[in-house]
Protein backbone atom coordinates (compact mmCIF):
# COMPACT_ATOMS: atom_id res chain seq x y z
CA UNK A 1 0.00 0.00 0.00
CA UNK A 2 2.04 2.84 1.22
CA UNK A 3 5.24 1.19 0.37
CA UNK A 4 5.17 -0.92 -2.73
CA UNK A 5 8.43 -2.59 -3.50
CA UNK A 6 9.12 -1.70 -7.11
CA UNK A 7 12.49 -3.30 -7.21
CA UNK A 8 14.61 -0.23 -7.85
CA UNK A 9 15.35 0.56 -4.30
CA UNK A 10 18.45 2.67 -3.91
CA UNK A 11 18.42 4.16 -7.44
CA UNK A 12 21.79 4.07 -9.22
CA UNK A 13 22.90 0.56 -8.36
CA UNK A 14 21.29 -0.89 -11.45
CA UNK A 15 24.19 -0.70 -13.78
CA UNK A 16 25.99 -3.59 -12.27
CA UNK A 17 24.40 -6.55 -13.79
CA UNK A 18 25.51 -8.76 -10.97
CA UNK A 19 22.80 -10.87 -9.55
CA UNK A 20 22.39 -10.19 -5.92
CA UNK A 21 20.21 -11.54 -3.27
CA UNK A 22 17.17 -9.36 -3.41
CA UNK A 23 17.58 -6.66 -0.84
CA UNK A 24 14.51 -6.47 1.25
CA UNK A 25 13.35 -3.04 2.03
CA UNK A 26 14.24 -1.71 5.39
CA UNK A 27 11.13 0.33 5.44
CA UNK A 28 8.16 -0.68 7.44
CA UNK A 29 4.64 -0.20 6.31
CA UNK A 30 3.46 2.60 8.53
CA UNK A 31 -0.17 2.53 7.50
CA UNK A 32 -1.55 0.48 10.39
CA UNK A 33 0.41 2.63 12.77
CA UNK A 34 -1.11 5.76 11.28
CA UNK A 35 -4.51 4.17 11.56
CA UNK A 36 -3.93 3.42 15.18
CA UNK A 37 -2.54 6.86 15.82
CA UNK A 38 -5.53 8.61 14.37
CA UNK A 39 -7.93 6.29 16.08
CA UNK A 40 -6.45 7.20 19.42
CA UNK A 41 -6.33 10.83 18.42
CA UNK A 42 -10.02 10.83 17.59
CA UNK A 43 -10.83 9.12 20.85
CA UNK A 44 -8.94 11.62 22.93
CA UNK A 45 -10.29 14.60 21.03
CA UNK A 46 -13.81 13.40 21.60
CA UNK A 47 -13.39 12.63 25.27
CA UNK A 48 -11.62 15.85 26.13
CA UNK A 49 -13.90 18.46 27.56
CA UNK A 50 -12.69 21.85 26.62
CA UNK A 51 -15.41 24.06 27.88
CA UNK A 52 -15.78 23.79 31.57
CA UNK A 53 -19.16 24.61 33.00
CA UNK A 54 -19.65 28.16 34.06
CA UNK A 55 -20.81 29.32 37.39
CA UNK A 56 -22.70 32.29 38.63
CA UNK A 57 -22.03 33.58 42.04
CA UNK A 58 -24.70 34.71 44.41
CA UNK A 59 -24.33 36.21 47.80
CA UNK A 60 -27.10 35.46 50.17
CA UNK A 61 -27.81 37.82 53.04
CA UNK A 62 -26.68 36.66 56.43
CA UNK A 63 -29.57 35.03 58.19
CA UNK A 64 -30.31 37.35 61.04
CA UNK A 65 -33.10 36.18 63.23
CA UNK A 66 -33.08 39.35 65.30
CA UNK A 67 -34.34 41.49 62.46
CA UNK A 68 -37.91 42.54 62.98
CA UNK A 69 -40.46 42.41 60.22
CA UNK A 70 -40.40 46.20 60.03
CA UNK A 71 -36.68 46.38 59.53
CA UNK A 72 -36.87 43.80 56.82
CA UNK A 73 -39.32 45.94 54.92
CA UNK A 74 -37.16 48.99 55.10
CA UNK A 75 -36.45 49.08 51.40
CA UNK A 76 -38.21 52.02 49.74
CA UNK A 77 -41.48 50.66 48.40
CA UNK A 78 -41.77 52.64 45.22
CA UNK A 79 -38.43 51.39 43.97
CA UNK A 80 -39.13 47.81 44.90
CA UNK A 81 -40.02 45.55 42.06
CA UNK A 82 -41.36 42.20 43.12
CA UNK A 83 -40.96 39.46 40.57
CA UNK A 84 -42.82 36.27 41.26
CA UNK A 85 -41.69 33.25 39.31
CA UNK A 86 -44.23 30.52 38.95
CA UNK A 87 -44.82 27.41 36.89
CA UNK A 88 -45.07 27.14 33.09
CA UNK A 89 -42.44 29.87 32.81
CA UNK A 90 -44.92 32.53 33.82
CA UNK A 91 -43.66 35.61 35.60
CA UNK A 92 -45.75 38.09 37.58
CA UNK A 93 -44.56 41.41 38.80
CA UNK A 94 -45.77 44.30 40.91
CA UNK A 95 -44.29 47.34 42.54
CA UNK A 96 -44.27 48.10 46.22
CA UNK A 97 -45.35 45.97 49.09
CA UNK A 98 -48.36 43.74 49.29
CA UNK A 99 -50.14 44.95 52.39
CA UNK A 100 -53.18 42.99 53.52
CA UNK A 101 -54.77 46.09 55.07
CA UNK A 102 -54.71 47.99 51.79
CA UNK A 103 -55.85 47.21 48.31
CA UNK A 104 -53.64 44.53 46.82
CA UNK A 105 -51.32 45.63 44.04
CA UNK A 106 -52.27 44.20 40.70
CA UNK A 107 -50.03 41.60 39.17
CA UNK A 108 -48.82 41.93 35.62
CA UNK A 109 -48.12 38.78 33.72
CA UNK A 110 -45.00 38.44 31.60
CA UNK A 111 -42.38 35.89 30.61
CA UNK A 112 -38.64 35.39 30.24
CA UNK A 113 -38.44 36.55 26.67
CA UNK A 114 -36.64 39.64 25.50
CA UNK A 115 -39.80 41.65 25.34
CA UNK A 116 -40.97 40.32 28.63
CA UNK A 117 -39.20 40.87 31.88
CA UNK A 118 -36.04 42.21 30.28
CA UNK A 119 -37.78 45.13 28.64
CA UNK A 120 -39.41 46.06 31.92
CA UNK A 121 -36.20 45.78 33.88
CA UNK A 122 -34.20 47.86 31.45
CA UNK A 123 -36.88 50.53 31.32
CA UNK A 124 -37.28 50.70 35.07
CA UNK A 125 -33.57 50.68 35.60
CA UNK A 126 -33.08 53.50 33.13
CA UNK A 127 -35.80 55.51 34.74
CA UNK A 128 -33.74 55.61 37.90
CA UNK A 129 -30.51 57.49 37.20
CA UNK A 130 -30.21 56.04 33.72
CA UNK A 131 -28.60 53.09 35.43
CA UNK A 132 -28.78 50.56 32.60
CA UNK A 133 -27.54 52.82 29.83
CA UNK A 134 -24.78 54.28 31.93
CA UNK A 135 -23.38 50.89 32.84
CA UNK A 136 -23.76 49.61 29.29
CA UNK A 137 -21.76 52.61 28.16
CA UNK A 138 -18.96 51.75 30.53
CA UNK A 139 -19.12 48.12 29.49
CA UNK A 140 -18.61 49.20 25.91
CA UNK A 141 -15.66 51.31 26.92
CA UNK A 142 -14.16 48.28 28.62
CA UNK A 143 -14.56 46.20 25.47
CA UNK A 144 -12.90 48.86 23.33
CA UNK A 145 -10.10 49.13 25.81
CA UNK A 146 -10.82 52.66 26.93
CA UNK A 147 -11.52 51.58 30.45
CA UNK A 148 -9.76 48.96 32.50
CA UNK A 149 -11.74 46.32 34.26
CA UNK A 150 -10.84 47.62 37.68
CA UNK A 151 -11.75 51.18 36.79
CA UNK A 152 -15.06 49.94 35.45
CA UNK A 153 -15.84 48.06 38.61
CA UNK A 154 -14.94 51.05 40.72
CA UNK A 155 -17.09 53.38 38.62
CA UNK A 156 -20.09 51.09 38.83
CA UNK A 157 -19.63 50.71 42.55
CA UNK A 158 -19.50 54.45 43.14
CA UNK A 159 -22.44 55.09 40.86
CA UNK A 160 -24.53 52.51 42.60
CA UNK A 161 -23.52 53.75 46.02
CA UNK A 162 -24.41 57.39 45.35
CA UNK A 163 -27.82 56.46 44.00
CA UNK A 164 -28.40 53.69 46.45
CA UNK A 165 -31.57 54.94 48.05
CA UNK A 166 -33.39 55.63 44.81
CA UNK A 167 -32.30 52.91 42.47
CA UNK A 168 -34.22 49.85 41.49
CA UNK A 169 -34.42 46.99 43.93
CA UNK A 170 -35.63 43.68 42.66
CA UNK A 171 -37.04 41.01 44.90
CA UNK A 172 -37.05 37.68 43.16
CA UNK A 173 -39.67 35.40 44.57
CA UNK A 174 -39.80 31.98 43.01
CA UNK A 175 -42.88 30.18 44.25
CA UNK A 176 -43.25 26.49 44.98
CA UNK A 177 -44.13 25.62 41.38
CA UNK A 178 -41.14 27.24 39.79
CA UNK A 179 -38.08 25.29 38.83
CA UNK A 180 -34.38 25.88 39.08
CA UNK A 181 -34.08 27.00 35.48
CA UNK A 182 -36.50 29.84 36.19
CA UNK A 183 -34.36 31.01 39.07
CA UNK A 184 -31.18 30.92 37.02
CA UNK A 185 -32.91 32.69 34.16
CA UNK A 186 -34.14 35.40 36.48
CA UNK A 187 -30.72 35.83 38.05
CA UNK A 188 -29.33 36.02 34.56
CA UNK A 189 -31.73 38.82 33.70
CA UNK A 190 -30.41 40.72 36.70
CA UNK A 191 -26.92 40.46 35.25
CA UNK A 192 -28.04 41.38 31.75
CA UNK A 193 -30.12 44.34 32.86
CA UNK A 194 -27.43 45.65 35.20
CA UNK A 195 -29.62 45.45 38.26
CA UNK A 196 -27.36 46.04 41.19
CA UNK A 197 -29.57 45.22 44.12
CA UNK A 198 -31.65 42.13 44.09
CA UNK A 199 -32.54 39.46 46.55
CA UNK A 200 -33.73 35.91 46.27
CA UNK A 201 -36.69 35.48 48.58
CA UNK A 202 -39.72 33.31 48.96
CA UNK A 203 -43.30 34.20 48.27
CA UNK A 204 -45.47 34.85 51.27
CA UNK A 205 -49.03 33.61 51.70
CA UNK A 206 -50.47 36.84 50.40
CA UNK A 207 -48.48 36.63 47.22
CA UNK A 208 -49.42 33.00 46.74
CA UNK A 209 -53.00 34.11 47.03
CA UNK A 210 -52.44 36.87 44.50
CA UNK A 211 -50.88 34.42 42.05
CA UNK A 212 -53.74 32.01 42.53
CA UNK A 213 -56.19 34.80 41.82
CA UNK A 214 -54.28 35.91 38.76
CA UNK A 215 -54.17 32.34 37.44
CA UNK A 216 -57.93 31.96 37.59
CA UNK A 217 -58.46 34.83 35.20
Amino acid sequence: MADVNTGDEGGGKKKHGKKRAKKSSTRIDMTPMVDLGFLLLTFFILTTTFNKPQAMEINMPVKDKDLTEEEKNKVPAKHTLNIILTDKNVVYWYFGVADPSKALPSLTKTNYSQNGIRKLLIAENNERHNMYNQIELWKKEVSTGKLTNDAYREKVKVYRKTNQMSSLIVLLKPDKDSNYKNVVDALDEMAICNVGSYALLETNDLENQMVANANTF
Binding site: V4, T48, Q54, M60, Q114, I192
Partner: protein, 202 residues
Protein backbone atom coordinates in the same frame (compact mmCIF):
# COMPACT_ATOMS: atom_id res chain seq x y z
CA UNK B 1 21.41 8.21 -27.33
CA UNK B 2 19.69 5.91 -25.08
CA UNK B 3 16.30 6.94 -24.06
CA UNK B 4 16.26 8.90 -20.89
CA UNK B 5 14.46 6.78 -18.50
CA UNK B 6 12.36 8.58 -16.07
CA UNK B 7 13.16 7.09 -12.70
CA UNK B 8 10.27 4.89 -11.76
CA UNK B 9 8.70 6.50 -8.82
CA UNK B 10 7.61 4.33 -6.07
CA UNK B 11 4.02 5.21 -5.23
CA UNK B 12 4.87 5.08 -1.60
CA UNK B 13 4.54 8.09 0.62
CA UNK B 14 6.70 8.45 3.59
CA UNK B 15 4.28 8.14 6.45
CA UNK B 16 6.77 8.81 9.18
CA UNK B 17 6.07 12.53 9.65
CA UNK B 18 2.37 11.82 9.67
CA UNK B 19 2.83 9.19 12.33
CA UNK B 20 4.94 11.62 14.28
CA UNK B 21 2.27 14.23 14.06
CA UNK B 22 -0.52 11.84 14.95
CA UNK B 23 1.27 10.57 18.01
CA UNK B 24 2.27 14.04 19.05
CA UNK B 25 -1.39 15.00 19.02
CA UNK B 26 -2.35 11.79 20.81
CA UNK B 27 0.16 12.55 23.53
CA UNK B 28 -1.12 16.10 23.79
CA UNK B 29 -4.75 15.08 24.15
CA UNK B 30 -3.88 12.27 26.51
CA UNK B 31 -2.10 14.64 28.79
CA UNK B 32 -4.70 17.36 28.84
CA UNK B 33 -7.76 15.19 29.05
CA UNK B 34 -8.81 14.12 32.45
CA UNK B 35 -11.13 11.34 33.06
CA UNK B 36 -13.79 12.30 35.44
CA UNK B 37 -15.19 9.71 37.74
CA UNK B 38 -18.70 8.98 36.67
CA UNK B 39 -21.23 11.23 38.30
CA UNK B 40 -23.98 9.49 40.17
CA UNK B 41 -26.60 11.70 38.62
CA UNK B 42 -27.23 12.98 35.15
CA UNK B 43 -27.82 16.68 35.42
CA UNK B 44 -28.92 18.95 32.66
CA UNK B 45 -27.86 22.36 33.83
CA UNK B 46 -29.57 25.57 32.87
CA UNK B 47 -27.52 28.08 30.94
CA UNK B 48 -26.49 31.54 31.95
CA UNK B 49 -24.48 34.43 30.58
CA UNK B 50 -22.09 34.31 33.49
CA UNK B 51 -18.51 33.79 32.42
CA UNK B 52 -17.00 32.79 35.73
CA UNK B 53 -15.04 29.57 35.40
CA UNK B 54 -15.27 27.08 38.16
CA UNK B 55 -12.11 25.48 39.44
CA UNK B 56 -11.61 21.72 39.37
CA UNK B 57 -10.30 21.47 42.85
CA UNK B 58 -11.19 22.91 46.22
CA UNK B 59 -14.87 22.52 45.67
CA UNK B 60 -17.76 21.28 47.67
CA UNK B 61 -20.69 20.60 45.46
CA UNK B 62 -24.31 19.81 46.08
CA UNK B 63 -26.16 18.35 43.14
CA UNK B 64 -29.89 18.25 42.66
CA UNK B 65 -31.20 16.06 39.89
CA UNK B 66 -34.48 16.32 38.04
CA UNK B 67 -36.28 14.16 40.57
CA UNK B 68 -35.15 16.49 43.34
CA UNK B 69 -32.77 13.93 44.78
CA UNK B 70 -29.84 15.53 46.49
CA UNK B 71 -26.24 14.45 45.89
CA UNK B 72 -23.05 15.57 47.49
CA UNK B 73 -19.42 15.64 46.57
CA UNK B 74 -16.23 17.24 47.77
CA UNK B 75 -12.84 17.25 46.10
CA UNK B 76 -9.62 15.90 47.53
CA UNK B 77 -9.05 12.28 48.51
CA UNK B 78 -7.80 13.01 51.98
CA UNK B 79 -10.60 15.37 52.77
CA UNK B 80 -13.15 12.90 51.52
CA UNK B 81 -11.75 10.24 53.80
CA UNK B 82 -11.78 12.60 56.79
CA UNK B 83 -15.33 13.70 56.12
CA UNK B 84 -16.48 10.11 55.77
CA UNK B 85 -14.80 9.22 59.03
CA UNK B 86 -16.53 12.06 60.84
CA UNK B 87 -19.85 11.01 59.36
CA UNK B 88 -19.32 7.40 60.30
CA UNK B 89 -18.69 8.41 63.90
CA UNK B 90 -21.75 10.60 64.00
CA UNK B 91 -24.11 8.03 62.48
CA UNK B 92 -22.50 4.93 63.94
CA UNK B 93 -21.93 3.38 60.54
CA UNK B 94 -18.70 1.43 60.27
CA UNK B 95 -16.57 1.35 57.15
CA UNK B 96 -13.62 -0.89 56.39
CA UNK B 97 -10.41 0.23 54.76
CA UNK B 98 -11.52 -0.84 51.31
CA UNK B 99 -14.72 1.15 51.53
CA UNK B 100 -12.97 4.30 52.67
CA UNK B 101 -10.56 3.97 49.79
CA UNK B 102 -13.43 3.49 47.41
CA UNK B 103 -15.17 6.55 48.79
CA UNK B 104 -12.17 8.79 48.43
CA UNK B 105 -11.81 7.88 44.77
CA UNK B 106 -15.46 8.28 43.98
CA UNK B 107 -17.27 11.32 42.75
CA UNK B 108 -20.75 12.39 43.81
CA UNK B 109 -23.10 10.11 45.66
CA UNK B 110 -26.68 10.33 46.75
CA UNK B 111 -27.43 7.64 49.27
CA UNK B 112 -28.32 7.91 52.95
CA UNK B 113 -25.68 6.91 55.49
CA UNK B 114 -27.23 3.56 56.32
CA UNK B 115 -27.00 2.44 52.72
CA UNK B 116 -23.50 3.76 52.32
CA UNK B 117 -21.47 0.60 53.21
CA UNK B 118 -23.47 -1.53 50.77
CA UNK B 119 -23.17 1.19 48.15
CA UNK B 120 -19.42 1.39 48.52
CA UNK B 121 -18.88 -2.36 48.39
CA UNK B 122 -21.08 -2.82 45.35
CA UNK B 123 -19.82 -3.01 41.80
CA UNK B 124 -20.65 -0.29 39.35
CA UNK B 125 -23.83 -1.86 37.97
CA UNK B 126 -25.01 -2.86 41.41
CA UNK B 127 -24.23 0.64 42.60
CA UNK B 128 -26.41 2.19 39.96
CA UNK B 129 -29.28 0.04 41.13
CA UNK B 130 -28.84 1.15 44.73
CA UNK B 131 -28.65 4.74 43.56
CA UNK B 132 -31.84 4.42 41.56
CA UNK B 133 -33.73 2.97 44.47
CA UNK B 134 -32.64 5.53 47.00
CA UNK B 135 -34.08 8.99 47.06
CA UNK B 136 -30.91 10.98 47.52
CA UNK B 137 -29.30 12.27 50.67
CA UNK B 138 -31.96 13.06 53.27
CA UNK B 139 -32.16 16.81 53.64
CA UNK B 140 -35.43 17.44 55.43
CA UNK B 141 -35.60 19.01 58.85
CA UNK B 142 -36.19 15.71 60.67
CA UNK B 143 -33.27 13.85 59.21
CA UNK B 144 -30.76 16.21 57.71
CA UNK B 145 -27.76 14.16 56.68
CA UNK B 146 -26.93 16.78 54.10
CA UNK B 147 -26.52 19.32 56.91
CA UNK B 148 -23.85 17.10 58.45
CA UNK B 149 -22.10 16.47 55.17
CA UNK B 150 -21.93 20.22 54.61
CA UNK B 151 -20.89 20.81 58.19
CA UNK B 152 -18.02 18.31 58.20
CA UNK B 153 -17.00 19.41 54.74
CA UNK B 154 -16.85 22.97 56.00
CA UNK B 155 -14.88 22.07 59.09
CA UNK B 156 -12.28 20.07 57.21
CA UNK B 157 -12.03 22.38 54.25
CA UNK B 158 -13.09 25.88 55.26
CA UNK B 159 -11.58 27.53 52.20
CA UNK B 160 -13.48 25.46 49.70
CA UNK B 161 -15.85 27.04 47.26
CA UNK B 162 -19.38 25.84 47.61
CA UNK B 163 -21.50 25.27 44.56
CA UNK B 164 -24.96 24.08 43.76
CA UNK B 165 -25.49 22.18 40.55
CA UNK B 166 -29.13 21.81 39.79
CA UNK B 167 -31.08 20.37 36.93
CA UNK B 168 -33.22 22.68 34.84
CA UNK B 169 -36.38 21.10 36.09
CA UNK B 170 -35.50 20.52 39.71
CA UNK B 171 -38.05 22.33 41.79
CA UNK B 172 -37.31 25.56 43.55
CA UNK B 173 -38.36 24.40 47.04
CA UNK B 174 -35.62 21.75 46.94
CA UNK B 175 -33.02 24.27 45.80
CA UNK B 176 -34.26 26.65 48.45
CA UNK B 177 -33.91 23.94 51.09
CA UNK B 178 -30.34 23.35 50.02
CA UNK B 179 -29.64 27.07 50.12
CA UNK B 180 -31.19 27.30 53.56
CA UNK B 181 -29.01 24.47 54.79
CA UNK B 182 -25.97 26.24 53.41
CA UNK B 183 -26.99 29.46 55.07
CA UNK B 184 -27.56 27.69 58.35
CA UNK B 185 -23.99 26.50 58.09
CA UNK B 186 -22.88 30.09 57.50
CA UNK B 187 -22.22 29.64 53.82
CA UNK B 188 -23.64 32.83 52.43
CA UNK B 189 -21.67 32.94 49.27
CA UNK B 190 -21.94 30.14 46.83
CA UNK B 191 -21.97 29.40 43.12
CA UNK B 192 -24.65 28.08 40.90
CA UNK B 193 -23.16 25.96 38.17
CA UNK B 194 -24.54 26.58 34.73
CA UNK B 195 -23.75 26.00 31.11
CA UNK B 196 -22.49 28.71 28.89
CA UNK B 197 -24.91 30.77 26.89
CA UNK B 198 -24.14 33.42 24.36
CA UNK B 199 -24.77 36.96 25.51
CA UNK B 200 -28.10 38.70 25.15
CA UNK B 201 -29.24 39.11 21.58
CA UNK B 202 -29.26 42.74 20.68
Amino acid sequence: MPKIKMPKNSPSIDMTPMVDLAFLLVTFFMLISQFRAEEAAIIDMPSSVSDLKIPDKDMMMILVDKEDHVFYTITGQEIRATVLEAMSKKYGVKFDEEQIKEFSNMSSFGVPMKEMPAYLSAGSTERKKIQEKSSGIPSDSVNCELCDWVFYGRINAPRFRVAIKGDQVSSYPTIRRVMDILQDKKVNKFNLITNMESGPAE
